[in-house]
Symmetry: C2
Subunit: 524 residues, 2 copies
């Protein structure tokens, strides 16, 4: 039985149940057994994390940066083992996806977070010299991270964006591994623990539990010792955690389901249907469709070009290799969610059949409804069929397009393809603002599956895509603000202020808003 | 029966109940009758607000600024009527409190909000030129504002900080009047409506309802058409609204109860007990103690100087005129909350008796407990007795002070008085970080009742003082972020970007974070 990491020690869990991950490419269980922790483990982690919070008060942003950078290097030193384990647990291709994509993204994120911690340029120091009031964002306290199944590295509980953000903002992290890749998470935890020890972090800075009961998870996010929680995963489990955290007044940041609507305007369709079909197929089937920003809903207008588009996509979906899905749960929920859509009247354009029986997979599937069908039951029609599938909504007019958009729930992204010659501009203006009000990121002429780690990125959006539309889960320094509280100093004596709020600028790189102006200068 | 303001029209409410405010100085009901609206009125307001949200898309920040400034002038033009009505409804003194204090604070806030709307310097434009991604905060949609009883002007539902912030961020407001000052709220609504009409705002920009049933209030904050809610008031009612909004995934910003602990360190007590006693009495009895930041809990160490301090405060409390309370509800809950504290073992130092029977009031009251009593039942001991009262916690040691602080719930403020000669510095260091982690604003050597409208202010703090420790209710532009969503533009064509995100800087005053650097320059 694998060990958990609590208070700086690898030790046996308090557990009376265990679980195994499985190899999606073979449906076979993998060798290692992982414990399901009881509340005792959660309680011990919370106590150690609370102690680490106190220890962190005398640790500078620069020291935290060293930890994150050392950890990134440690990951690179153990890249082969991590990639091998992640491949076994997810069946993601090694060179293109894991070694070549997610791993460098992960270490880049950790290094960006290190930079934010070192400069302090996430904390928005704000100084009113006349009133003698100074404020900035500061650590919120222990952060629980529940990572998703679909990015074992870049969104991993102890390696991904939530982890990097919470640590860089000065908080300890209690990571709950995703049950589909516990081994990968364990390898990261070993690297993180090593780096934490060699850079002098408090014992409870990084802790790992593999799994708990649902009630214990709810108790964890609501515990008095918790600062905040980051959760990425299914809507149902996320809403349970949200209810528990909300009732206790504890911030929880959720990334839940999103169908990421794409609208293709008539002239763009006329002029570019072949290119868009290829782009769409690539985006929709990439990673077997298991991206948060997978284009799961495509709104088009009836036309000959649209028929050609549908035919091309249908052909490509049929011809493309059927990717492997992450788990039997993903496989069965893809199948059952597609069934919900078909039962509600969606027509099968292609797919919707089981594929190979010796691995987790399901045929590349494209469904189709009319605008009237969509509008008649929008909640059902927005069922997220997570995986290699998408739903076309074929409308008769721009008014119908707008009526469809009016039914949208909150989404991470929304995209409009329009002709480059201006011939779609009136149609664009008719729908763009309506679409934008429902999404966190608005795109033009580009599929949403690329989520750049940029300061200007918003990987967020209105409920139920996330729990709060004012925060992003990707993009440093913005993502750190989720794990921060606003701290104000009123008439506090100068030598008692944090270094970042004293008259002398902490370092050459800290931007501060002093009396309404952003500056890197000292205050005279 | 007074009329409500819906969709740009003053009209009769859908109502089958009514209420009257009363004059706190006489306990007599005031003449006007106000309707309790049914859901039909809420529904109509939501529909009009949703339409206004669409209308606002073609209205610039500069036009919103004009509205806010015109409104501020309109308030000044009607200052006498507003002050007279507020005086009748609250019994607050006219010259010192209403005309000389709250009214100029209110118009100043509206003008600061106008400036934020005009410059755009609240929206944090963030541009990544290499990635082609640009983002900023934008309007979240219709905002419901539930104002408190204690600031009829500066926190009024349709005149105060939440209103100014929500409007400046580009949102329509549905104001729910506080039932203790409906007439004041109506006068503000008339000024706001006038200003909205003369500056071309959409019909549903400012709307007023006086009261609803509790279930209708909960339905309102959870409605699909709502963007967010601002609530300031009692903990019980606030938590009911929070539960409803949370379940619907709608942001709600709450300012609930806070006892605002003060710690007086031994040498400060020794050297300054007379001055601190006078400061404390002034702060605690100001406005009959009906401030959100009233110092309701004072932690001291046993000493002769402390005995002198207690004697001085006791004498001052007994000698000071007993102020009038805002309503019979405030009077009765002050009495019953003091009873809870006394039943739990608090000793009465002074007061705790009814005062004049012909007005709402209760004797200036100081209670006292030991640290051991406090620690034995911290939840009860932190009962907020809103009004002219405070609780002393007399400790035996700094360890006891820290143990008391460890029991604190989240508060808006926390303050430490320490000797100016450095003799308390070790004691300060022992407790400051612990106290700070429980509060939104940390003060030195100063009572918390002054809340400057400064960009660096934080009028917020951990639950249950507020619903989220990352946001402030006072201080522009920060307070606008509560009523905003993050909006990202990825590969969006340049002429389709909002003006504030295009290469050319919108105006000379807009600060933008371009590729990690804050600048007012154009992008080349």
């Amino acid at each position: 039985m694998q060990q958990i990491l609590i208070a700086g020690q690898w030790r046996d869990a308090n557990s009376n149940k265990s679980f195994q991950a499985s190899n999606p490419a073979t449906r076979e269980p993998l060798a290692n057994e992982y414990p399901v922790s009881t509340w005792e483990d959660c309680d011990a982690a919370l106590t150690a994390a609370a102690e680490a919070t106190v220890g962190l008060r005398s640790i500078s942003g620069g020291q935290i940066a060293e930890f994150l950078e050392t950890y990134a290097t440690e990951i690179e030193n153990n890249a082969d083992a991590i990639v091998d384990m992640a491949h076994a647990e997810t069946a993601y291709p090694k060179p293109t996806r894991l070694a070549g994509g997610e791993l460098p993204r992960t270490t880049d994120q950790l290094r960006q977070a290190a930079n934010a911690a070192r400069t302090g340029n996430w904390s928005v120091p704000t100084i009113d010299t006349a009133a003698g009031i100074r404020s900035q964002y500061g650590a919120i306290g222990p952060v629980a991270v529940f990572g998703p199944n679909n990015f074992p590295l870049a969104f991993g509980s102890i390696s991904g964006g939530d982890f990097a953000s919470a640590i860089a903002a000065g908080n300890p992290v209690i990571a709950k591994a995703n049950s589909s890749h516990p081994g990968t998470t364990e390898l990261f935890a070993r690297c993180a623990h090593q780096a934490a020890q060699s850079t002098g972090m408090p014992a409870g800075m990084v802790q790992l539990i593999y799994r708990t009961s649902h009630p214990d998870g709810e108790r964890l996010v609501a515990d008095a010792r918790i600062g905040a929680t980051g959760y990425t995963g299914s809507r149902h489990a996320g809403l349970q955690l949200k209810a528990a955290a909300d009732a206790a007044g504890k911030p929880i940041y959720l990334e839940l389901s999103s169908v990421n609507p794409i609208v293709i305007l008539p002239q763009a369709m006329e002029q570019q249907h072949e290119e868009i079909a290829t782009e769409f197929t690539g985006s929709c089937l990439m990673g077997t469709g298991q991206f948060c920003t997978n284009p799961g809903l495509v709104v088009v207008l009836k036309s000959d070009a649209t028929n050609s588009f549908i035919a091309a996509v249908s052909e490509q979906f049929a011809a493309a290799p059927v990717g492997t899905l992450l788990s039997s749960g993903v496989e069965s929920s893809l199948e059952s969610n597609l069934e919900i859509l078909v039962d509600a009247g969606a027509e099968i354009v292609v797919g919707n059949t089981p594929a190979d029986s010796d691995r987790y997979c399901y045929a590349n599937t494209l469904l189709k409804v009319t605008a009237q069908q969509f509008i008649a039951d929008p909640e059902t029609m927005q069922t997220e069929a997570f995986g290699n599938s998408s739903l076309l909504v074929v409308t008769e007019s721009m008014d119908e397009v707008n009526a469809v958009i009016a039914c949208f729930e909150g989404n991470l992204t929304g995209c409009i393809y329009s002709a480059t010659d201006g011939s779609d501009d009136a149609a664009y203006d008719q729908i763009a603002a309506n679409l934008q009000s429902k999404v966190g990121r608005m795109l033009n002429d580009k599929m949403p599956t690329g989520v750049a780690v940029s300061a200007a990125m918003n990987h967020g959006g209105p409920f139920p895509a996330t729990g709060h539309p004012g925060f992003t889960a990707v993009g440093i320094p913005g993502s750190l603000l989720r794990f921060a509280m606003l701290q104000c100093y009123d008439n506090v004596r100068h030598d008692r202020l944090p270094a970042s709020l004293r008259d002398e600028n902490l370092n050459g790189e800290l931007w501060r808003c002093v009396d309404g102006n952003w500056t890197r200068e000292n205050i005279n």
